[in-house]
């Protein structure tokens, strides 16, 4: 029965894509969480939705664009949104979190407009909102592979700098590393990972795949590398188990994956080692 699931190409695509984002989302998620940027991931996913809605609209209006993969515009919007957030964070230095509702509501507003212009909801859009196993194409898979290679290589090469920037931004700047550039590269990677992850887990749940495995990992891990390791492990368990269950039980994959991640997190909270100082206690 297990082999039955792989005889269709679309399922192969979905599983391979799932395995890749199961590592990719928590990998960047660790940096996102420790830098207290979880909500930024959420805001960016909604901007991605606007890009996808626009792409679907264009597809409907202009036959010439029928072959355009919505992932491209989604990613473009996400990257643009991330740069916009950075601008806003500089404009509102003392209210940096204001950038999030501005971008989030802007993203939703645009999405709703594009959707209404396209005269309604279609199944494609549903797949982007909640994730889909059947809709993952070969092109999608190749885009995900490309993003995976870029992000993993960048994280390995800039690991020290990303760590320093996450742990102590002021020290990073004082030490003379190009921290502005590192941050810029980081936020673009986040935008890319969000847009490729949403194919499987859906827009509304992308940030969950970036944060829940990390939250569970924080209960166990000693040191930063271990935190990354456990986050990826929990991410993979959630994605793989979630895809199997959603296929056999005919559930939306995004929801299934995220609920498994929540289950892992609850288990981690219940049995995870109690630290003298707990996460979130920082002043």
């Amino acid at each position: 029965m297990i082999s039955g699931i792989f005889q269709f190409e679309f399922l192969q695509n979905a599983f391979l894509t799932g395995i890749i984002i199961g590592a990719l989302a928590p990998l960047l998620g660790v940096f996102v969480v420790v830098r207290r940027m979880s909500l930024i991931a959420d805001a960016l996913s909604h901007v991605t939705l606007a890009g996808i809605a626009l792409s679907l609209l264009l597809e409907k209006r202009f036959m010439a664009l029928a072959g355009l993969n919505p992932l491209y515009l989604g990613m473009a919007f996400s990257v643009a949104g991330s740069l916009f957030i950075e601008r806003l964070r500089n404009v509102y230095r003392h209210y940096q979190e204001l950038a999030i509702p501005i971008i989030l509501s802007g993203g939703i507003g645009l999405s709703v407009i594009f959707i209404s212009l396209a005269e309604g909801f279609n199944t494609d859009l549903y797949g982007y909102l909640f994730g889909s196993v059947s809709a993952v194409s070969r092109t999608d898979l190749w885009v995900v592979v490309a993003v995976f290679l870029i992000v993993v290589l960048t994280v390995i090469l800039l690991y020290k700098e990303l760590f320093l920037l996450s742990f102590d931004e002021e020290h990073a700047r004082a030490s003379g590393i190009p921290s502005k550039w590192i941050h810029f590269i980081f936020i673009i990677m986040v935008a890319m990972v969000i847009s490729v992850s949403m194919r499987i887990v859906g827009i509304l749940l992308v940030s969950a795949l970036m944060t829940l495995p990390v939250a569970a990992s924080l209960r166990f891990a000693n040191g930063f590398k271990q935190t990354i390791f456990f986050s990826i492990l929990f991410g993979e368990i959630s994605v793989i188990a979630g895809l199997f269950l959603s296929y056999y039980l005919d559930l939306a994959p995004g929801g299934t994956i995220v609920i498994i991640a929540v289950g892992l997190l609850v288990t981690a909270i219940l049995i995870g080692k109690r630290k003298k100082t707990k996460w979130g206690e920082g002043k």
């Binding site: 320093l164 020290h171 990073a172 030490s175 003379g176 000693n222 003298k276 100082t277 920082g282 002043k283």
Partner: protein, 255 residues
């Protein structure tokens, strides 16, 4: 006033700074000779951290000049010559999932260089730095599991690991158990005397450090006194109060 045989490591010339309308620093000039242990004292909000941030290049100079190791700060590149321990006890995220080793090794980021990886000699340096602050054996613990005083030692190790010639500490004892404060100043004294590291220590415990330091500077928007520790001791309380515009007694108790 200063020992002229030793070249100044820091030359601050007539700097003023404002965040908004009002000046936080006004016409501050200050030289720190090599090998000095300077205590920078002053009440809360007197501009001490601002002055340090200007020296560290974290804030942009508005007027005046700063030279580091004889070079204009705008040209200065050797930032790993300068170690910095900030007011971390207040702002540090105690839940950060990093081991002591990882934290100290992050002090070598600039030295190792972009796109390069830590090697065995770097790992040895990390252990040496931990040893020098008496924290060897803690390298695998998560930073959040340590006490405030231990964390502060780890941050000093992080600043020392790149073997800086100058170490700048901004109120490092805030949040440190008072029993360990004395021990901590002892450690700073040794770093200064034995390893020859030039130190700038911001504190408002005027009393507790003056016997360890070689120079004292009193800042309150402008510099009210800058000289060696003996001259500082010879000032009487009345003179000190006029410098601060408030009672010294009050200062050493108000945090």
């Amino acid at each position: 006033m200063e020992d002229t045989r030793k070249k100044p490591i820091i030359e601050v010339k007539d700097i003023s700074y404002k965040y908004a309308e009002d000046h936080v620093l006004e016409h501050v000039s200050l030289n720190v000779p090599e090998g000095a242990f300077l205590a920078l004292v002053g009440p809360n909000g007197s501009g001490k951290s601002t002055l340090l941030k200007l020296i560290l290049g974290l804030l942009k100079l508005q007027s005046g000049k700063i030279k580091l190791f004889g070079e204009d700060i705008r040209m200065f590149k050797d930032w790993d010559q300068i170690g910095f321990v900030s007011q971390k006890a207040n702002s540090f995220n105690t839940g950060f999932p990093a081991s002591v080793f990882e934290v100290v090794q992050s002090g070598l980021t600039k030295k190792i260089g972009l796109f390069a990886f830590p090697k065995k000699k770097h790992r040895e340096k990390v252990l040496d730095a931990l040893k020098s602050v008496g924290m060897l054996g803690f390298q695998d613990r998560n930073i959040g599991e340590l006490s405030g005083g231990q964390q502060q030692r780890v941050f000093i190790a992080r600043a020392l690991v790149s073997e800086p010639k100058l170490l700048i500490l901004d109120e490092p004892t805030v949040g440190v158990d008072s029993r360990h404060v004395h021990e901590f100043y002892q450690l700073l004294g040794e770093l200064n005397k034995k390893s020859g590291i030039t130190l700038i220590l911001v504190t408002h415990d005027v009393g507790t450090v003056t016997d360890k330091v070689s120079h004292v500077a009193c800042l309150n928007k402008s510099l009210h006194f800058h000289g060696d520790a003996e001259e500082y001791h010879s000032l009487d309380e009345k003179e000190l109060s006029t410098m601060y515009g408030t009672s010294v007694q009050l200062i050493s108790h108000n945090h």
